[in-house]
Subunit: 324 residues, 2 copies
């Protein structure tokens, strides 16, 4: 068993990463989207990174996985009382990581080092890595103008029609040594694109200068898990955005987002009608239950994804042997 690298963002991504973590422990590296990072009250919020930390540490709220369980909002109430901003409604426990991150960054430490410190203190054996130590900001091009993802999501409620996305700073963002080392691990077994919005969770990672090509050139199979089940995103805005972009909100269209990068695509059994269509894109397809309601669901899906990768690897080795 070798190293598994997962690319992830959002709660769905964290759930599959948690399944992989429960199977692979320290041999998992999770590269997390930071395109949604924002500054509020002078603090560096990194929602996808923190969601991942809470999930892998087993302290995420069951119903609201982006924050620690038992979250309260008394700081926020006091901030409002003192005339501070109404939105976003800060959680108390959710303030701790941004506080320490901001201070660490002010002291010249890299987000990656700070995140790995959090992992150590939370007892997370896996390596959770921000996609880059350089800032990248996902902007949404809408009928109401270009807005940050944060504005689009929190203030505009995902309502304006989306024409496209920009990943500001991505081209110049450097791949960290830690991400580089993970992708160059001699025992790299699979790269998993976790189920999350392609446009503002996975693509920002792939947009980091050179990362897309690096992943494409990896010998390990690259597997993506569909964020679309039964024609809609389980949570979040992927389906709506796909329609805005003139794409069919389907598992097949989601697969097309990763074309030329991935070797295999995992779709839900509910979407079995798309198996042939995805296969026609020259992709291996696994149809399995992808809905993760329980921890067992996470582990089962992770296990099937890793088996799928093993099967693809075996097939690729055979094809290589049989090549003229």
């Amino acid at each position: 068993m070798g190293t598994v690298v997962a690319l992830a963002g959002q709660v769905g991504g964290a759930k599959l990463a948690d399944g992989l973590y429960r199977l692979r422990g320290k041999d998992l590296v999770v590269v997390v989207n930071t395109g949604d990072d924002y500054e509020h009250l002078g603090l560096a919020f990194s929602p996808d990174v923190d969601t991942m930390l809470y999930t892998l540490a087993g302290i995420a709220a069951p119903a609201a996985g982006w924050e620690p369980e038992g979250e309260s909002r008394v700081v926020h109430a006091m901030v409002k009382k003192l005339g501070g901003p109404d939105q976003p409604a800060l959680g108390d426990r959710s303030l701790a990581a941004p506080l320490l991150r901001s201070q660490g960054m002010a002291d010249g430490r890299r987000p990656t080092e700070i995140t790995l410190d959090f992992c150590r203190h939370l007892g997370i054996a896996a390596r959770v890595l921000p996609m880059s130590d350089d800032p990248v900001r996902t902007n949404v091009i809408t009928t109401k103008g270009v807005v940050t993802f944060n504005e689009f999501f929190n203030q505009l409620n995902c309502e304006p029609t989306v024409h496209g996305f920009q990943y500001a700073g991505a081209e110049d963002a450097r791949i960290s040594d830690e991400v580089l080392a993970a992708l160059h691990a001699p025992d790299l077994e699979a790269i998993v694109l976790c189920p999350a919005n392609p446009y503002h969770a996975i693509q920002p990672i792939l947009a980091v200068g050179g990362l897309y090509d690096l992943i494409r050139k990896c010998r390990a199979p690259v597997i993506a898990v569909s964020p679309i089940v039964g024609g809609k995103a389980l949570k979040g805005s992927a389906g709506k955005i796909m329609r805005d972009l003139g794409r069919e909100p389907s598992a097949r269209a989601a697969a097309a987002e990763y074309l030329r990068l991935i070797d295999g695509f995992v779709i839900d059994t509910e979407d079995a009608q798309f198996v042939d269509g995805v296969r026609a894109m020259d992709l291996e397809v696994l149809s399995t239950s992808t809905v993760m309601r329980t921890v067992e669901d996470r582990i089962n899906l992770a296990s099937r994804v890793l088996d799928f990768a093993t099967a693809i690897r075996a097939k690729q080795a055979l094809e290589l042997e049989q090549a003229p």
Copy 2:
């Protein structure tokens, strides 16, 4: 009835200021010590200012007046879980003001403006003013070296023997326009030095460049209320520090700290034996109950202090008339 200016720090100072506020409302200006300010987790903590705000807003905890009532510490628990510092034990609600203050200052706003904004939002009609917008840091010269007041108080538990104090930055700190306007108010009725540690609550204010002379030259009577009752500070370290400095920890010695600045000194009835000694320093003396256990105690003491100022003013006017 005119403007009353109170100089204050700590919980005791806030209590008398609250009594004055309940009598005078918008005609009270409180100039608050900022020598104890410190930075923690990148945030600008101003403990004496925030204590004053919570007290005047009526939201201070009854038993721990330096923080809002019902305080919790879940952010702190999460900070520790993530590997952050153990001390000080941050209160959740107590984080709100430092968060907004830090952000305001990063945006180029003056601490005075930020504090006045807090007053407005908390419904405080009085003006609470930091002693200066420039940073002043109270350092304690001890047998263990020179330490910040914060280290002395929180980490060293006031234990090392004290040889003296430094108010770093005070000489160059400018008096704000707001403090200047209050001291130049044509209707200025009294300046009250609230009962608080002379060395690290009141002297830092007086050390702000030019402020001591400005107060001395004011025509309004300057009254100090003894922080020492029955040979010891009611709360805090004033008694211990006076002994360290080779001074008798008495109301008389406390009066001596403000000699040449004040016109009148208020001592507790328990310290009646010092009345003659204080009078011998050419000071007017009022002996009354100075222990403030209830809100009524605060109002009663404030009322007596203001009456005392009126009596002194009348006496001075008479002396002026009778002067050759």
